[in-house]
């Protein structure tokens, strides 16, 4: 490993030197998309997969906007009756708000705690490290349904029932292990040399973290943060079981109303689905840009 790192370091210095001495030269191997004749290697599988991804969404959209009784296959003409059912009769507005608040809360705390814990795992060797890792892995081995009643009792004792705070805490506890382990992996991938260099120069470890590690951690933060938010957004079981008042339910609970024993309203389910999925998909679409660092990526900072 030291060997590869050393090589990178040398390369880094070379690149930095060259950019100062010579005009920029195309440095990377040509990406596939620029090679003629090879473009189909990207476009064909991608197109096929995109078709696979889109068809279910399209189906949902069609069902959401078509009037009851019609069998049209295109989303035109549009009828808003299902959205009306879902927003007014079921009261999706409140559920939406709860989901957003819960999602944000989980996002912040999971990201924060997983960066902290991930850094500890990645940069330190401390006693009990392996046990800690294993313990966190183990927490994922039990299905949530089996822990409902003990969790309910704990929440009741702590006065956290029927509150979004309680839901956030529960969701964070369950999502943290995965996020922490993932974050540790990402941090480990960031070369330690630059951090050490910064500390040798007089930075505290904390400053070194913010100056060196954090900028490179952006894709990881986006990945872990979005997993956390989406996990919280889609949580059904805890939201249903730990709330005893209707105004504390979240979107997935609202969605499940549409599939009752005596009222199966696929139009409402689809419309509810559009309400639940579209905002997240849109935000995600914007945010995923940060999953990919720009062309100035790599260890050229500092």
């Amino acid at each position: 490993m030291t060997e590869t790192l050393g090589k990178t370091d040398t390369l880094v210095r070379e690149v930095v030197d060259t950019t100062h001495r010579r005009p920029p030269v195309k440095r990377r191997p040509r990406p596939v998309a620029e090679e003629p004749g090879k473009r189909w290697l990207i476009h064909l599988p991608l197109a096929l997969y995109l078709l696979f991804t889109i068809v279910p969404f399209y189906w949902m959209l069609v069902f959401a906007v078509r009037p009851t009784g019609s069998t049209q296959l295109v989303p035109w003409p549009i009828s808003f009756e299902h959205f009306d059912t879902v927003w007014n009769d079921i009261g999706f507005g409140v559920f939406f708000y709860n989901s957003v608040v819960m999602g944000l809360g989980v996002l912040v705390f999971v990201t924060l705690l997983s960066v902290m814990g991930g850094y500890a795992l990645a940069r330190f060797k401390f006693r009990g490290q392996k046990v800690f890792l294993l313990a966190m892995l183990c927490s994922q081995f039990i299905p949530g349904a089996m822990m409902l009643i003990p969790l309910f009792v704990i929440f009741k004792g702590l006065g956290l029932l029927n509150s979004i705070t309680g839901l956030v805490i529960a969701e964070v506890a369950f999502q943290l292990p995965l996020s922490l382990i993932l974050m540790a992996g990402f941090i480990r991938n960031i070369s330690v040399e630059l951090e050490e260099a910064a500390m040798v120069d007089g930075c505290s470890r904390l400053r070194a973290f913010f100056a060196v590690v954090l900028p490179q951690l952006k894709p990881a933060l986006v990945a872990v943060g979005s997993f956390a938010f989406i996990g919280a957004w889609n949580n059904f079981l805890f939201a249903l079981m730990f709330a005893t008042r209707q105004d504390k339910f979240t979107l997935p609970v609202g969605l499940s109303y549409t599939l009752g024993e005596f009222n199966t309203d696929f139009g409402a389910l689809a419309a509810g689905g559009v309400v639940a999925a579209v905002p997240v998909v849109l935000v995600f679409a914007v945010v995923q840009r940060f999953l990919v660092q720009g062309l100035s990526a790599g260890a050229v900072k500092g």
Partner: protein, 427 residues
Amino acid sequence: MRKLLVAVAAAALALTACGSGDSGGDGKVTLTFWDNNGGPAREPIYKELISRFESANPDIKVEYVGIPSASVQQKYDTAIAGGETPDVGGVTTSYLAHLIGQNALAPLDDRINGGALKDKLLPSLVETVRQTAPDGKLYIVPSSANMDVIWYRADWFKDAGLEPPKTWDEFITAATQLTDAGANKYGYTIRGGAGSVFQLITEAYAYSGVDNFFEGGQSTLGDSANAELVDKVADLYKKATPEADINNSFTQMIAQFTGGSVAMMHHNLGSYSDVTKALGDKVAAIPLPVGPSGKRTVVPNPTDGFAVFNNSEHQDAAWKFAEFLTSSESNSYWNEKVGQIPANTDVRSAPWIDKSAHVKMALGILEDPATILVPAPVYLPQYSSITKADSEPLYQKVLLGETSAQDFLNGMAEKLTAAQKEWEERN
């Protein structure tokens, strides 16, 4: 960047911290009411009734909580184990025994008899509710009953020149005749997934004419006439029914019927709003056909009602609300909207009953002296696990031809007999 992070974290904390906490403390009583079948169809009905109740009782506020029906048992179990039950809850007799067994509900006999509902509830429903309790008391006040019906496509029948079937043999003939697999049209759809066996049992007893679930302590489920029916139904699978049936839960079954590929579907009055919304007046209902014996033996559907929970701190107010919900005006309103049988006998003379063909038909059957009710032993705690978790996969094997109907029924019968014996010993 750091400042931004801190700001976001602070905002998140602030948002999550607010939003809990109870109101009240000004002399008003706040009741929580759990609807056991929350959804867009039912919620507006309850909301209307609640607002009527609150106007009539200004010092009581009712909070409505809708529970999705698929998770309601789990929700009740968790709530009871955790000590957070509502004041009033909707409960169906299919899981009433479980709640009684956990000592969660308050008996209502004295309250019913001491109030406006005395002698006003349909005797057959009251009897069904009593049977679920070891001490024979009423732990819910029945509000609504259902009955098995066959929803059928009146337009298809008319086009084919067929009369809706009255006997099971006519039923099978009609199903076969109306099937055109090439055009994706089938005569019948079997509920082969979740909830399959309960419906199958009602069909079997309707056919066999056996009038009791237990004969001398032995389960009659294994009767050869019952097996005959199961054989006939299994025979229809894939020949007059879609292949998908084997997995059909209610959701999938009704999607097929309302989607227009099936001529007949066995369910109950409860799906009235779904089928009419999709098919309008193309659909009508008939009772389950009778068998060769000509006797009309009906296994009653679970009865809906309202329970007052033991842990409630406002039991008098809770009862007031439950009583209000089953008073003749509310009961009529609710059942008319939902299309089910009202428990309050005063509603019998309401004009909407005459106009609602299927409710009228169902009531007619329930009131007919020739109808024999064969109540299923829902008081047995193991009843649902015997007829659900254990048997549903086995029924699928029967449909696939891997097990015989008789063996299947015998297996269930044995377990039921054992459970019944245990029950009798304990009581």
